[in-house]
Amino acid sequence: MTDTINTQQTPALRPALPLPEAAARGLAAVGGLATAASAFLAWTYSSAFPGDLTVNGYPGGLQWVTLVAGLLVLLYALTGYRVPGLRWLAPGGAEGATVIVAFGALATTWFTLIAIADELGGLANLASGGWVAGIASLVALLGALGLPRDGVAADADNPLKRVVGYPGKRPDLRPAPALPVAVELLIITLALALGLGIFTFGIDTSYGELFGGFLITAVFAAWALSRSGALGRLTDITSRHRVFTAVGAFVAAAIFPFTQNSDANASIGVNLLIFGATALGLNVVVGLTGLLDLGYVAFLGVGAYTGALVSGAATSSLHVTFPFWAAAITGAAVSGIFGVILGAPTLRVRGDYLAIVTLGFGEIFRIVVNNLDGVSGPNVTGGPNGIPNIPDLSIFGFNLGNAHTIGGITLGRFANYFELMLVFIAIIVLVFSRSSSSRIGRAWVAIREDETAATAMGINAFRFKLLAFALGATLAGLAGTVMAHVGFSVVPDPFVFAGPVPPNSAFLLAAVVIGGMGTVTGPLIGAALFYLLQAKLQFLQSYQLLLFGIALILFMRFRPEGLIANKQRQLEFHEDETESAAELSTAGA
């Protein structure tokens, strides 16, 4: 009887499994250790499975991922024992994070085992090491589920949060005192290096299964770090050294091509950056101003076509060759003008109507460029064939089409464009962050929050919405000019509303929404995730839109604010409330 009453009052504070605490901790730690150890055993008898998991004593392929996942479980379990030196991993409590990483280890391991059984034909292909891994990860999860909860009993209706506690409210997380500057800068550097390493590993994965396992572990690890408060601490530190962090992030990104010995990943990288830059532009419109634009990819198209037309390509109907800086400015400006032309009539309507009208304009763009081929209209865009053979850029006599050797490392064509695009991203990030934190950005956010109140505060809503539209279009146009050169040719196909390959309006919107509207890093991370997913999981091609839809639904259900929640700083402003929440939870426990 009393039990049921307790369950109703504090559902999130009871462990999911009724285990003695010591046993639960022990199981989690041992399970994590055994999972990690199993990576050194043979998992299958046949080397036909990619990565060769038949070797005893040395991990291969997916076993490396399992090893990392198992070690993470062990680390978080040990943090629960208050092992000295591990406190930084979980300033906000280790239990919820242990559950999350244990789920991650289980998912990674079982994903591997199922992939083996599926590809080689049956469970008989699993060697003893595989069974050990599967059972060990299950034991770790059972142990973790028996741990006492560290969450607040809020949001008990959310099943996800009922299991792992509430990720947003970390009861005993107090703002940490600032460390010496040198130490903080070192931490940021290490975090960036780690980020680069993880990204490089992910993009280097040579087969879909490995990327799948990597992604599962990475997502759960990131979630656990956020849940345990470690990520929050890191954010506190980076927010004290914004410029250093931003410059460091760009340096880390610039180093990326140097870690590659082929140009294939740089090609993925540069397209990812173009996608990310466009997503940031869309973020001005959707994230800051709250205007749902379903035809945004058209502005990328305007930039790309403009860039191609002035590139000096033989097939361009304008036989002019602009130097690149002029081409970039022209592309951005023309796109911006198109933004105003499209915005002026469409922005008179609000909400759903705006979404439909922009969707229509996006399609009109594609159909128009498809028809300006000299047959059904003047020859401007080359119709369905587009503008092929766009010459490579040459900046200060540096031809981006040729491979160059810098410091003994050869940077191929795509690597050159990657570095160029990085400069553009830096500009776009600067423009975005400065405009969003200014009088203009405040007006945009005010319009998003309450348009009537915004106009009553003296904001000319139409004008500022038009400005947002124009700025967003300009940024996309800038990315488009680079895109024209990277892709050798510009054709109408990519500029659709929805399709399996980015960029298209639906993917751009998803990158912004899932990444975190109104933030700088959110859309970039969202874009990276989406781009890598489709580039790496080619075998899912036909299911991609389905999975994409499912992912969107899950996100809107469980984390509507996106990966990077805006106003994270609200936590630091609400010490008093966090404290009272802590008192409440201790009183309840």
């Binding site: 423009v431 009088r439 203009i440 405040r442 505060m457 003296g458 609200q570």
Partner: protein
């Protein structure tokens, strides 16, 4: 309700100056419904004017007509002698700022940012200077922040500058709306039920705040259902009933006016046979001509008044 003292309003009423806001013959129709019917109102500099009336009388609609949210069907609104354009942002630019009956803050912005948005019309740096961040931009931004903080200090919200607006308690949200409106440096402030949902202490504090605002040289036009608040504060009170201005005058005049009492208490239900005795006992007002064409006879009066209320 009728026996409150009037020291406050009489002691504080300053010499009223020149006309600031003049509404002439404002009519607002929604289809067949005339929500505001031929209302005239003048607010002079340095005045606190009250606008009262029963629910649905058209007070908020009248506010919306003044501030450009609605375009009046007929009539004219002038501010400092010039006709106001029917665009809310131009009205604010001209010097009239308002608050809303149903709080309309920017919930996901901080308290300080809300007030900074209020400064929009008094700042002018554009997108280019926001990106370049030249000295002019920095100066303006610093000045805005300083003035916004001063306003938060003035309204007692400085401590909460970094909080998200949606996390403020109700009373403070209302104060923040006032601070945000003041940030546009208005000559006339329009408050729509600033004390709705407040406890008596908070209401008292709001009274002080309104006096302090007037002392800064800002005229105030305030809608309120709290009569004590209105009669304490206002130099003049206008009563709106069913879209029409019934009376306008000093607190004493309005309080003494029988039609006002009738409009508020209503005659129909108290005149029904069951409540008849009670109604006569505390109302003790004979049905007046203006309240409606009420007849002394109880039953026809009730049937008469009911359709009238539905309009």
């Amino acid at each position: 309700m009728t026996d409150i003292t009037l020291e406050n309003s009489s002691s504080n009423s300053p010499a009223t100056g020149t006309p600031l806001l003049e509404a002439r013959g404002v009519i607002m129709r929604f289809g067949g419904l005339t929500a505001v019917n031929n209302v005239d109102l003048t607010v002079n500099t340095g005045e606190i004017i009250g606008l009262i009336g029963p629910n649905g009388a058209g007070k908020t609609t009248f506010f919306n007509c003044l501030t450009g949210l609605y375009i009046p069907t007929e009539g004219q609104v002038t501010y400092k002698g010039t006709v106001l354009p029917p665009k809310p942002f131009k009205v604010t630019q001209a010097g009239m700022a308002r608050t809303f009956q149903n709080i309309r803050l920017f919930h996901n912005m901080t308290v300080l940012e809300n007030v900074l948005v209020g400064r929009h019309t008094r700042t002018k740096e554009g997108i280019i200077s926001a990106i370049l961040r030249g000295p002019g931009y920095r100066r303006e931004e610093a000045e805005s922040r300083e003035k916004a903080m001063a306003l938060l200090e003035f309204t007692g919200l400085a401590r909460k500058a970094g909080h998200l607006a949606r996390n403020l308690p109700y009373g403070e949200q209302r104060k923040l709306e006032i601070a945000r409106a003041l940030a546009s440096e208005p000559g006339l402030l329009l408050l729509d039920e600033p004390t709705a949902g407040m406890n008596p202490q908070e209401t008292r504090a709001t009274e002080e705040l309104v006096f302090a605002i007037r002392d800064r040289g800002i005229a105030v036009l305030v809608i309120e259902h709290d009569m004590r608040f209105i009669f304490n504060l206002c130099d003049r009170v206008a009563v709106l009933v069913q879209g029409e201005k019934l009376v306008e005058g000093t607190s004493e005049v309005v309080q003494a006016d029988e039609r006002v009492i009738a409009a508020y208490l209503g005659t129909p239900y108290e005149a029904t046979p069951e409540a008849g005795a009670a109604g006569e006992a505390d109302g003790s007002i004979p049905a007046s001509d203006a309240a409606s064409d009420a007849t002394p006879d109880a039953t026809p009066d009730a049937t008469d008044a009911t359709p009238e209320e539905d309009q």
